[in-house]
């Protein structure tokens, strides 16, 4: 990561302008992708944080979304409809995990793993082959791009930035980023509002205190099924958009998705915090984008290859989990030392000073 950082910004003298431009394009690309993955991360937030259910279905339902959308698009269905169908498919997958857990009394982790494995085969059945290319198809992404072209926003930005001499540094099109950002933000807003409704409140309470919710006449089984359904619907929706963005749906594209989701949630919480729901969901959005930026920068290091991405992800999550704790510990240690010093000096000066020293604490 250090190598990449020093290359891109801190020592511009050592690299050519061409490479710098390439770097900006790559970073913009990662923000663009990050916004699409943020929708998946919101789904993971719902299961992992709200329901307190580590749901591994995500690895499968992400692909289910991509596969459903790809196959429907190829068979001539409107890409927007196909993407909505992907959302529904994800909802169903999540509901099955929920039913396995609540009615089958299977451990949460295991019901997720079982569903993930089952979905691998189901996804192959949906696609009928491991990879479905979409490059020559009309997708949501191409539709947005061509609609955006008609607005003329890009050329306006281009002339604006060229006039201040930065024309080379801006992306050729803003359309995908802006539209995806609006979609992701709208979903975040909907999640915020939903979690304040009567059903949403009971959903939150399920993750908080299961027994208490039942004593207030809420059906916790049904709530868990619903929560996992919504979570996986968002994941599949994101999967459908990613497949269309990449131009293909692949049976392996969901591997490690749960960790990417967790990484986004955890990084976001470390940076933004999670004091309220509104803040926590914003943290997920920011976390998903930050995660992509970190990975893009890390991959710029010479000794790392694309295949190392999962390893990088694991390391990022470990860092995001461990570093805040270390910082807290260090702060606590510093406080302790300071207090010890204060109390020591109070001891030397005699008993009268002890009370005074205490008021400082």
């Amino acid at each position: 990561m250090n190598v990449a950082e020093s290359r891109c910004s801190h020592s511009p003298l050592t690299i050519g302008p061409q490479e710098e431009i390439y770097m900006f394009t790559a970073l913009f690309g990662s923000v663009e992708v990050g916004v699409i993955y943020a929708i998946m991360a919101l789904g993971v937030y719902l299961s992992f944080r709200i329901l307190d259910f580590p749901d591994l279905t995500v690895d499968g339902s992400f692909v289910t979304g991509g596969a459903t959308a790809a196959v429907l698009i190829i068979s001539g269905v409107n890409p927007f409809l196909a993407t909505i169908a992907a959302l529904a498919a994800g909802f169903l997958a999540g509901c099955v995990t929920g039913i396995l857990h609540t009615k089958g009394k299977i451990n949460p982790l295991l019901s997720g793993i079982l569903m993930m494995i089952a979905l691998y085969s189901i996804n192959l059945r949906i696609m009928d082959k491991p990879n479905v290319p979409l490059l020559s198809e009309e997708t949501v992404i191409t539709k947005i791009a061509s609609w955006w072209q008609g607005i003329g926003f890009d050329s306006m930005m281009q002339s604006l930035f060229t006039s201040i001499g930065l024309g080379d540094y801006i992306p050729s099109t803003w359309g995908i980023f802006i539209v995806m950002f609006i979609i992701a933000f709208a979903i975040k807003k909907m999640v915020d509002l939903f979690l304040k409704t009567e059903i949403g409140l009971s959903l939150r309470a399920v993750g908080d205190n299961d027994g208490m919710v039942r004593s207030f006449s809420a059906n916790t089984d049904w709530l868990k099924v619903l929560g996992l359904g919504i979570s996986n619907a968002l994941v599949a929706f994101s999967g459908a958009l990613v497949a269309q963005y990449n131009g293909f749906s692949d049976v392996g594209m969901g591997i490690g998705m749960i960790i990417i989701g967790l990484a986004s949630v955890i990084i976001g919480e470390a940076v933004i915090g999670n004091a309220t729901i509104v803040r926590a969901t914003l943290a997920v959005l920011v976390g998903a984008i930050l995660y992509r930026l970190i990975v893009t920068l890390a991959l710029r290091a010479d000794f790392l290859e694309t295949g190392d991405m999962k390893l990088i992800t694991a390391v990022i999550v470990i860092f995001a989990l461990v570093v805040p704790k270390l910082i807290d510990k260090q702060k606590a240690g510093a406080r302790k030392k300071k207090r010890a010093a204060q109390l020591d000096s109070a001891k030397l000066n005699g008993g009268d000073q002890v009370a005074a020293a205490r008021t400082d604490l």
Binding site: T197, R204, R214, S215, F216
Partner: protein, 264 residues
């Protein structure tokens, strides 16, 4: 209001640990009755509570609440008619949610949940008004997370949440046992006030004999899954802790285990 008929429940049947938790127990409560339940550990008090709330189901017998047979009804469905406060102050509230959100959750106990907002301006005013009953100043902290409250405050909030929607039956399961004496007194006082205010039919389990005598209009003593002694409205005011202990000894022919500890 509540009729338990011949309730029989056995745990670990067919194993060496077999234990008859409730042995053909009958209990009838009229509307407005406040029954306190005492008994040593293993007497079946908690099983009784769990059978009424639907947490566990009886092997034999029927549970009737307000004229409806609820013997096989699931816990969350019959919760529409039952308010509960648990022994553990942490058990009755959701810690990461605010006071008003917890109250909103409790407010929905009697009706189906919808996609309306849980906390509206009108409801917030209502919650504030209800919180004033507790005299703890919680009405000014509606947006505070419940996890930040002390054990006593949380238990007071749990009590309010279980009662302000006027349940047909209120179940109190040793709800002051985990609190320090001052907080326990506060919750006992609030319980008395709230039960009177809302005219609730209440069943309270306690290990504190004095509390069992101070609260309620009826008292039952349980042992080995049966009710071994009852005091009705006219008998209860004349009872003392000593009389209760003597009664137990007379019926069972043995001293209550560690009876002095129950005097606390």
């Amino acid at each position: 209001m509540l009729q338990l008929e011949q309730i029989y429940k056995v745990f670990y049947e067919g194993t060496p640990d077999e234990k008859i938790a409730l042995n053909q127990l009958y209990l009838h409560m009229k509307p407005g009755d406040f029954v306190t339940v005492i008994g040593s550990n293993g007497a079946g008090k908690s099983t009784l509570m769990n059978i009424i709330s639907g947490n566990i189901f009886p092997d034999y017998g029927t549970v009737n609440i307000n004229g409806t047979n609820m013997t096989a009804m699931s816990e969350h469905k019959r919760a529409r008619k039952i308010g509960r406060v648990f022994q553990n102050p942490l058990a009755g509230t959701a810690p990461t949610m605010t006071i008003e959100e917890n109250l909103a959750l409790a407010y929905n106990r009697t009706k189906p949940r919808t996609l309306q907002f849980g906390v509206t301006k009108k409801r917030r005013d209502f919650f504030r008004e209800q919180l004033e009953i507790l005299h703890l100043g919680l009405e000014n902290r509606l947006q505070a997370k419940v996890g930040l409250l002390s054990g006593g405050e949380r238990q007071a909030l749990s009590l309010l949440m279980a009662t302000f929607t006027k349940p047909d039956i209120l179940l109190l399961d040793e709800h002051t046992a985990a609190l320090d004496p001052a907080r326990a007194d506060l919750i006992t006082k609030l319980t008395k006030e709230i039960v009177e205010k809302f005219q609730l039919t209440t069943l309270m389990v306690t290990h504190n004999m004095q509390q069992a005598l101070d609260l309620g209009n009826r008292l039952i003593m349980m042992d080995k899954g049966q009710i071994i002694f009852q005091a009705n409205e006219t008998e209860k005011p004349n009872l003392t802790v000593e009389k209760l202990l003597a009664e137990f000894q007379r019926i069972r022919g043995e001293a209550l285990l560690s009876d002095r500890s129950l005097l606390a």
